[in-house]
């Protein structure tokens, strides 16, 4: 059962990295998460949104990013979507340390972080249509039913 949900649309501007991860953290509070659980979620959201800003669109503010999320009794589900250039080879892009922006000190760790810090990760991409990232994370133990 969905307890609460939110949908945000914002320009691909780096200011919105902090905004979006903090909104999703706030949405998750009824799950009674630990500080570390929240930190993991914020990191994963930040990776997904940063990817849209750095890769999907060529200039800041050129396109829009859609973040939607909902919580159930014990789980958070998040979708981060852009309408940018798309990822030509998702399998390659999700490999650790793979980056197309080596000259700008990108670590190539984004998808690896999302995969490690969340319970599930799905990446769907189509050339010139955009990329959608689905992620979810459960509350392991505890979490009151308040």
């Amino acid at each position: 059962m969905i307890k609460n949900k939110i949908k945000m649309i914002f320009p691909a501007n780096s200011l919105n990295e902090a905004l979006s991860r903090n909104v999703i953290a706030s949405l998750s509070l009824p799950l009674n998460p630990t500080v570390e659980w929240l930190g993991d979620v914020k990191t994963a959201i930040s990776e997904a949104v940063t990817n849209c800003i750095v890769h999907a669109y060529s200039e800041d503010n050129e396109g829009e990013i859609e973040v939607s999320a909902y919580i159930t009794e014990n789980e958070l589900f998040v979708t981060v979507k852009d309408y940018g250039v798309g990822i030509p080879n998702v399998e390659q892009a999700t490999q650790p340390f793979y980056t197309t922006k080596g000259d700008t000190e990108r670590s190539g760790m984004g998808f690896t972080v999302m995969q490690t810090f969340m319970d599930s990760l799905e990446v769907i991409s189509a050339k010139n249509e955009g990329t959608t990232v689905h992620m979810s994370k459960k509350i392991m133990c505890g979490g009151s039913n308040a």
Binding site: S14, L15, E17, A18, R21, V35, E36, G39, D40, K42, T43, S46, E47, T50, I53, V54, T104, E105, R106, S107, G108, M109, G110, T112, V113, T116, F117
Partner: protein
């Protein structure tokens, strides 16, 4: 984010505080590079104890600074990371090149 530092006996300690992401990465790079360009240090220590958030953009920033220090064979240390930041440092292999301090 906020960056402060201390130099003691040619040992540079860089205190990172607040949030390091793609938005604050340019500020972090420029500020740290200015410090690194001032002198050739015997050691450089990155202190994460007052950091509240870092994502993989931060790893890119650290690797970039490490490359500069490696040219002068300056040993680089890391200390004070907790929670998700510590997990990220481990996952990215940073501790293979930054020596982890427990002091």
């Amino acid at each position: 984010m906020d960056i402060t530092y201390k130099v003691d006996n040619k040992i540079l300690t860089i205190f990172l505080a607040g949030e390091l992401d793609h938005h604050s990465a340019v500020f972090a790079k420029v500020t740290i590079d200015e410090l690194l360009d001032k002198d050739i240090y015997n050691e450089v220590i990155f202190d994460f104890s007052r950091m509240t958030f870092m994502d993989s953009t931060g790893i890119g920033v650290l690797l970039g600074r490490y490359k500069k220090l490696k040219e002068h064979k300056v040993p680089v240390y890391a200390r004070g990371a907790q929670g998700s930041i510590e997990k990220l440092l481990k996952l990215s292999g940073i501790y293979n090149i930054f020596i982890k301090l427990t002091r």
